[in-house]
């Protein structure tokens, strides 16, 4: 009779990748196992030896080493090793020794191969490299179609169009006939064929711009339309279209293909709860009459964030939506400030710096901002106004869940409230005569975005940065040096975070040890290739395009960053769910075995990328 290996089945059932196997498979796996005991301090696998089984730790713990003797990993009950050797050339690639008395279950090669062939999840888990495993984990999460589908997938019909020379009445009749909530107005050539889009008119325009002001119904439609409306390209992603709608607070969006409008997507087309929800938050921000009203929206912002996480939005989507919300708070506060203080004496531009500029905001964030003033600014006469304006906005942001910046990088700091030419001087100085000490805490100045007023000045400054930085190896070396200041941990061991030197701690700060070094690293490459992007994922695309990374590494970086960023956001959402104040720390006991493996893989990719940065930009030159 077939022997039943109860103990071994019980154990396998509790540990991935075996936990993914069907029940009837488990007893077969158990019946194939071999068992071996090793006392503490014994070599289990020697580099280069032949390997004939997947090793599964039943009890005890082991240390895995690199070829050069560096500690690579520490594994305990449920940990597996030897899969790399089995999948490659049947030679031990990472030597292993026991840390404690250890009992190991060994799955012989033939049984391992059977599982690898027949069970996809098993194969995924033991797949050749951590980076591959990570990519699959990331792509599985992105199964949500609205997040990855192109906008064109949402178009159900050609846009309803009418000549721009029609009257408002004709437009209304056409909309009623077609059952359309919006209408594109087109220019026509002599033959009557549509040539170009002139504008868009919506139900709301007819209400707000025609009926309410009491205009004649035969008013030319061109007088009530929105000229040259904002549009998206047909191949942009649905979530990008949502972001455009969010950012501009619009509900109808023409979709362009080959220079022509091929459809209109409307808010109801995107019945994603999170988008409705974040749109709702944005529009209520603009309706608040005062700072108290804005501060009262904090729970809504948090609820919106939790919903996006719960619905498997990706980190880019969440980061952008939160940045749009943050930007809206700033814009509304500035509107209110100008109402209160009167119109500004000289033009200005309010800057967002750091994560908001990069569209990568999380729910735990402080405010980083600055003011760029007109070159006609006269401190004697004007600074009193701008000091008050800055205080109004920064105090307001603090009340709305964006605490003051510890490093005092805020418009309230006189140093960061200066005319455009002073700012140009700052950046030229930083880039041409960089000092490592200054740049240490100032990398966020290189992520800047205008949110209010003369936003073109922000673009001008960024243009200056990217044209100068590219030609300054010493500046890039300084930035690289800073980017190497924070390193990821090695991995996890039991309920501890393990450092490269084997030290263990209770939690890992996913910003300081994860997303921040990633952002710093990608910024250096992006500045080096003259990328005009601010978002780290977009910068990475430019860097990949410029072909300065070893082949395939760009994609690895993208996956690893997505995984780390999402993990950070998800744990913040978990904190909120549990009624705790969210932070950036993750405790290993809250991670599944899968998450630990993927996180270790992602940290490894970051660590490798830091080594490459060191090699490419010679950061020691910065000394």
């Amino acid at each position: 009779m077939q022997a039943e290996h109860l103990e071994i089945c019980d154990f396998l059932r509790r540990h991935p990748p075996f936990s993914e196997l069907p029940e009837e498979r488990l007893n077969w796996v158990a019946s194939q196992m071999e068992v071996a005991y090793f006392k503490a301090g014994t070599e289990v696998l020697r580099l280069g030896d032949e390997i004939d089984a997947l090793h599964v730790i039943r009890s005890g713990s082991v240390e895995v080493f690199r070829r050069n003797g560096d500690l690579y990993n520490r594994l305990s009950e449920g940990g597996i090793f030897g899969e790399l050797g089995l999948l490659r050339d049947r030679r031990v690639r990472f030597p292993v020794s026991t840390l404690e008395d250890t009992l190991i279950y060994l799955l012989p090669e033939s049984a391992f191969n059977t599982l690898f062939e027949e069970h996809e999840l098993f194969a995924d888990f033991v797949e050749v490299e951590d980076r591959t495993r990570l990519r699959q984990a990331v792509s599985r999460r992105e199964a949500n179609e609205l997040m990855t589908a192109p906008v064109s997938a949402l178009i159900s019909r050609a846009p309803v169009t009418l000549s721009v020379h029609s009257t408002a009445r004709e437009a209304a009749i056409k909309m009623t006939e077609e059952g359309a909530a919006s209408l594109l107005l087109v220019k026509e050539d002599e033959s009557g064929a549509a040539t170009a889009m002139a504008g868009i008119v919506t139900d709301q325009d007819i209400r707000d711009r025609l009926v309410t002001p009491g205009l004649d119904y035969d008013t030319p439609v061109s007088e009530i339309m929105t000229e040259a409306p904002i549009s998206v390209a047909h191949n942009q992603l649905v979530f990008e279209a949502m972001l455009v709608m969010l950012r501009h607070n619009i509900h109808h969006l023409p979709v362009m293909g080959r220079g022509k409008a091929i459809g209109i997507i409307e808010l109801p087309d995107i019945i994603r709860y999170e988008s409705q929800n974040s749109l709702f938050v944005v529009s209520s921000i603009f309706r608040q009459p005062d700072q108290e009203g804005l501060a009262a929206l904090v729970p809504d912002v948090r609820a919106c964030f939790r919903r996006m996480v719960a619905e498997d939005a990706n980190s880019r989507m969440i980061g952008s939506a939160l940045a749009v919300i943050g930007r809206s708070f700033k814009q509304r506060l500035l509107e209110l400030a100008e109402e209160f203080l009167g119109p500004p004496p000289v033009p200005y531009c309010f800057l967002a710096l750091g994560s908001m500029a990069r569209d990568e905001q999380s729910i735990v964030t402080d405010q980083d901002n600055a003011l760029v003033l007109s070159d006609t600014f006269d401190p004697e006469r004007h600074d009193d106004y701008f000091a008050k304006l800055a205080a109004f906005v920064c105090d307001g942001l603090n009340a709305c869940g964006y605490p003051y910046c510890n490093g005092d990088i805020m418009a309230t700091n006189r140093r960061w409230r200066q005319p455009l030419k002073v700012w140009e001087g700052y950046f030229s100085e930083w880039i041409e005569r960089p000092s490592p000490e200054f740049l240490l805490n100032s990398s966020i100045f290189f992520d800047l975005n205008g949110v209010w007023g003369k936003t073109e000045w922000a673009e001008k400054l960024y243009h200056l940065i990217r044209t100068k930085a590219q030609r300054q190896p010493r500046f890039l070396a300084c930035m690289a040096r800073n980017a190497l200041g924070r390193t990821p941990p090695l991995g996890f061991f039991r309920d501890f975070v393990m450092e490269t030197d084997g030290r263990q701690s209770n939690s890992v700060n996913m910003k300081r040890r994860g997303t921040a070094p990633f952002v710093d690293l990608v910024r250096v490459h992006a500045l080096a290739v003259g990328s005009s992007a601010l978002n780290t994922f977009e910068r990475l695309e430019d860097v990949i395009e410029a072909d300065i990374l070893p082949r395939g590494r760009g994609q690895d970086l993208r996956d690893a960053l997505e995984f780390i960023a999402l993990m950070r956001l998800r744990h913040q959402a978990l904190d909120l769910d549990a009624g705790r104040e969210p932070d950036n720390n993750i405790e290993p006991e809250n991670l599944s075995e899968f998450e630990r493996k993927h996180l270790k893989g992602a940290f490894q990719i970051l660590s490798d990328a830091q080594k490459f940065l060191r090699y490419r930009y010679a950061p020691n030159r910065a000394l």
Partner: protein
């Protein structure tokens, strides 16, 4: 194995296991000539390691019985677990497990321990039907047990009743290996006065000392595996692959 009934002593006594260490290869040759049952003769003809053989070269098999009770004369075997091993690996692919119908009555107490029920036993074959397979699976190997007072004498008695002749073979007793450490000298007067008790040499407690995982015991196959792991641990800590088998077996 089963020896934990309320009437049984905390640690069973070994006196009834009469077989003593000797020149086992020579003994097997003699027994092969005397054996009448062809299965038994084949078992002896397969031979056994000579006493000076290093442990690393000795094929081993862990064996465990569940029984209806503790009394050799009135109890019978209910299930048998076998797990072959050497010092490097324990091989579950070749493990065996049988439930057999004892001639003795299954007591409610024993059902509680090993979980094998009357109906399972009623459908099981008599030991005679699996004897050939059983002997073939352990022949040429040294048997490993935890407490040699059970498997060897129970099998011996069962065979006498069925085929009219008993069986002899050497065993390595992991409990006796523990006793060598923890029963070598009795606790001193003061330590007894302070309420200290000698370390337990039961299977589960012995495993803990070697940091082996907790297993739910009293299933013959699990217990055989647990015993096999314990022997590997004992050798790793206290002996060496070069130790002659005669230092361990009885």
């Amino acid at each position: 194995m089963f020896y934990l009934g309320p009437e049984s002593p905390d640690e069973p006594d070994l006196a009834r296991d009469e077989q003593v260490a000797r020149d086992w290869p020579a003994r097997y040759r003699t027994l092969a000539e005397q054996a009448l049952d062809p299965r038994l003769r084949a078992f002896y003809l397969a031979g056994v390691a000579s006493p000076e053989t290093p442990l690393a070269a000795v094929p081993l098999v862990a064996m465990d019985f569940e029984t209806t009770g503790f009394d050799l004369q009135r109890s019978g075997i209910v299930s048998i677990g076998l797990v072959p091993l050497n010092l490097d690996r324990i091989r579950l692919a070749d493990a065996r497990h049988w439930i057999v119908r004892p001639r003795a009555r299954l007591t409610p107490e024993s059902v509680v321990v090993h979980g094998i029920t009357h109906s399972e036993v009623a459908q099981a074959p008599d030991l005679t039907r699996v004897l050939g397979e059983l002997l073939a699976a352990i022949q040429g190997k040294v048997v490993v047990v935890h407490h040699r007072g059970i498997e060897r004498p129970f099998l011996d008695v069962a065979l006498r009743r069925r085929i009219g002749e008993g069986i002899e073979f050497p065993v390595i007793d992991t409990m006796e290996l523990e006793a060598r450490l923890h029963r070598a000298k009795p606790l001193g007067f003061w330590r007894r006065l302070l309420g200290q008790r000698p370390a337990s040499i039961r299977l589960a407690d012995s495993r803990i000392r070697y940091h082996l995982p907790h297993y739910s015991l009293h299933h013959a196959l699990t217990d055989a595996l647990a015993t096999a792991e314990l022997l590997q641990a004992q050798v790793a800590h206290r002996f060496s692959p070069e130790t002659p088998v005669a230092e361990l077996w009885k």
